[in-house]
């Protein structure tokens, strides 16, 4: 399957009645975005209002609490449309051409639950830890209707859809723009691959999806992934939004939809494809709460690795605690099939860095890449402007009592920063 991505560089965002991209500036009409979001019945039912803002790299701006980050894309050639099964029809995506508005993102923010977390600082020390400080962010803050408290499931769904719709609307603006740069990605059929690269090791990416429940879900072609068996997906399908995030907890190591669209493992494997390895496919598997599900899913991961005659696999994780068990089960079982693994995780080694980092361990997991210790404490200075609300900073993960100081600085663990210790290996942060 072959997909061409056409990158349209966005260096600035301006509100304007006319929607267009000109000289790397996105001009967008927030009212039009709003109208497009409200075309969805669930959004209409649960979201009272949206407000819009733009946050640019280097500004003294803090966005919190962040729900999701989404890169606008539009399918210009080939079957299907972006976010299949959710926004577009369920047709298989991943081939043809897709335009990407690179250098920007749609960020959804606003409270869903009272301990909602996720901070993006656009400057200062916090900005070093989140990849989203380097983007021009079109921020959508959602406000729930009265009485939403008893309907958190529905409201979370509505905000998720609203974000995807905003990104879809903006992506559409790039449909007829000539990309600044294009890049092709292709993986081959099993037999083809073996014939073309007879001497290269066959490698797949075992992609673990957060699937524990409300605020901890991931959707594949619109299907709640906790109700799925471990399966195979083409890496290019993920570039068209086949996997989207419904995960709002543990800001530092949740995979936003932006991460899924720009999966760094997919990128790194394509870079090595045909040179040092033969990139076969992605295997997606879940992280359920029920232990028998874990056993089944990890058995299937190992089984598929064997069936595909792999030599190696990279396993990535999402979230804290429970998924450590899936990570170790997957790794152990895949290694026992004779397939070599490297795993990507992050650590909760305590504020002093002295505790055991993972909730599970196995000697077969001997090649580990870490996204850093999420318990490490950081001081975030006061910002001139807050998009969203600081009401909940004191209750977010990693913040501790008094974490919002009177002078406006925040003392908290890295946990609170969106994407700080990403377990797909998106960042340079590590630990020893």
């Amino acid at each position: 399957m072959k997909l061409e991505l056409g990158y349209i560089q966005i260096n600035d965002i301006q509100f304007s009645k006319e929607c267009k991209v000109e000289n790397s500036t996105l001009f967008v009409d927030p009212d039009a975005v709003k109208a497009f979001m409200y075309e969805d019945d669930d959004v209409k039912a649960w979201v009272k209002d949206f407000s819009f803002d733009v946050a640019k790299p280097g500004e003294s701006v803090r966005i919190t609490p962040v729900k999701d980050v989404i890169e606008p894309r539009v399918k210009v050639e080939g079957p299907g449309g972006v976010f299949p099964g959710v926004i577009s029809k369920v047709d298989t995506v991943g081939s043809g051409k897709t335009h990407v508005l690179r250098g920007m993102a749609v960020v959804t923010a606003g409270k869903i639950v009272g301990f909602q977390e996720g901070i993006i600082d656009m400057s200062g020390p916090g900005a070093d830890y989140t990849p989203f400080s380097k983007l021009n962010n079109f921020v959508v803050v959602a406000e729930p209707v009265e009485g939403y408290q008893d309907h958190k499931h529905e409201y979370e769904h509505a905000v998720r859809i609203a974000g995807l719709r905003a990104a879809t609307f903006i992506g559409e603006i790039g449909r007829n723009v000539t990309p600044d740069e294009t890049q092709e990605f292709e993986t081959l059929g099993i037999k083809e691959g073996i014939e073309k690269y007879p001497d290269l090791p066959r490698v797949a990416y075992v992609h673990m999806l957060q699937t524990q429940g409300l605020l901890h879900d991931t959707y594949v072609y619109g299907v709640d992934a906790k109700r799925t068996l471990t399966t195979i997906i083409n890496p290019t399908e993920t570039m068209d939004g086949a996997i989207i995030s419904g995960n709002c907890v543990s800001a530092c190591d949740k995979n936003t939809t932006y991460h899924h669209l720009n999966n760094p493992v997919v990128k790194a494997l394509f870079a090595a494809h045909g040179k040092t390895l033969n990139y076969v496919c992605n295997i997606i598997t879940n992280e359920n709460v029920y232990l028998a599900d874990k056993q089944r899913s990890s058995d299937w991961s190992a089984k598929l690795c064997r069936l595909l005659d792999l030599d190696g696999a990279i396993v990535s994780q999402e979230g804290f605690g429970n998924p450590d068990t899936d990570l170790i089960m997957n790794t152990k079982k895949i290694e026992l099939q004779g397939v070599k693994t490297t795993i990507i995780t992050d650590e909760y080694a305590g504020q002093d860095g002295k505790s055991q980092s993972l909730a599970d361990a196995d000697p077969l997991a001997d090649a580990v890449v870490t996204g850093g210790n999420a318990n490490e404490v950081i001081i975030l200075p006061k910002m001139d402007k807050v998009i969203g609300t600081l009401d909940y900073v004191d209750v977010i993960a990693g913040g501790h009592a008094g974490s919002l100081r009177p002078d406006g600085t925040i003392e908290a663990e890295l946990q609170v920063i969106t994407g700080a210790t990403n377990e797909m290996g998106f960042n340079r942060l590590s630990a020893r």
């Binding site: 490297t342 990507i344 090649a367 797909m424």
Partner: protein, 347 residues
Amino acid sequence: MSYKVVHYINQFFANIGGEEMAHVAPELRDGFVGPGMAFNQAWKGEAEIVKTIVCGDSYFAEHEADAKAQVLEWVKAEKPDFFIAGPAFNAGRYGYACATICATVQEELGIPVLTGMYEENPGADLKNKVLMVATANSAAGMRKAAPAMAKLALKMMKGEKIGASCEEGYMPNGIRKNFFEKKVGAERAVDMLVAKLNGKPFTTEYPMPSFDRVAPNPAVKDLSKATIALCTSGGIVPKGNPDHIESSSASHYGEYCIAGVEKLTSEGYETAHGGYDPVYANADPNRVLPVDVLREMEKEGKIGKLHDYFYTTVGNGTAVANAKAFAAEYAQKLLQAGVHAVIMTST
């Protein structure tokens, strides 16, 4: 004004002689000796070696207590800002001496310390206690080792933030620290996998907690002459828990004298453990720590002696790293007290 440093080296690096001179007793000299010159040069006047202590490796090994006391006395008198030892490279006894004396100075005098040696040097067993720079396995590595040690030492003297082990060159000491790599994690993962697939060396960024096994020690030959100590992770403490061993998440261990105690009574002892129903242990603490039976057997001559102290921690609540550290610490006390065997009870 420059920082004052005391340097510890062995007879070989002081040019006294090799193995045949390893018996020499500690000696205090003014200024730098041998490898100290390289440190002074690297520090460019910001820090300076004011005294050098030279000690034979065999002397240290055979008269450890005396050697420690002598070194402590000299260091204390000098009141330096920093204490540095070695580098010892692959010399086993020298490495042991450097690590041990650093640990002692750090603990007793509260002075920051640093040493350096080859990672497989037996002295490196103390790497979680004493910061040590990893060096080559022979003195030919001095040209690289000295500047690396000097740089880290100066940072420590200035009280600067110490980065992750791989940035600063010290051996991983069990304390995880964040830093920024040159490549993103996914690229590192692909590089690591390709190395692993090609049978090339790679280094995991997070070594899994040790699954090491310790081989069993030889059996006790004669019980009737043996001193047996009792230890427990069941949290048995004197009534009222005088040391406040927490019921969970214990941050310290208890050491209690039971000399002359015939049996543990519910008036005298209780459990601080939060992880199980305490009713049975509180009603009769011997159910967790069998002092009554062992005292009886001591009287009957079945065992030589029940050790005067027992050691207690709170099992599941204790962080793994802490539990290990506690046990390692009291194991040394038991060893020094001449205990022959231990009965450890767990709930």
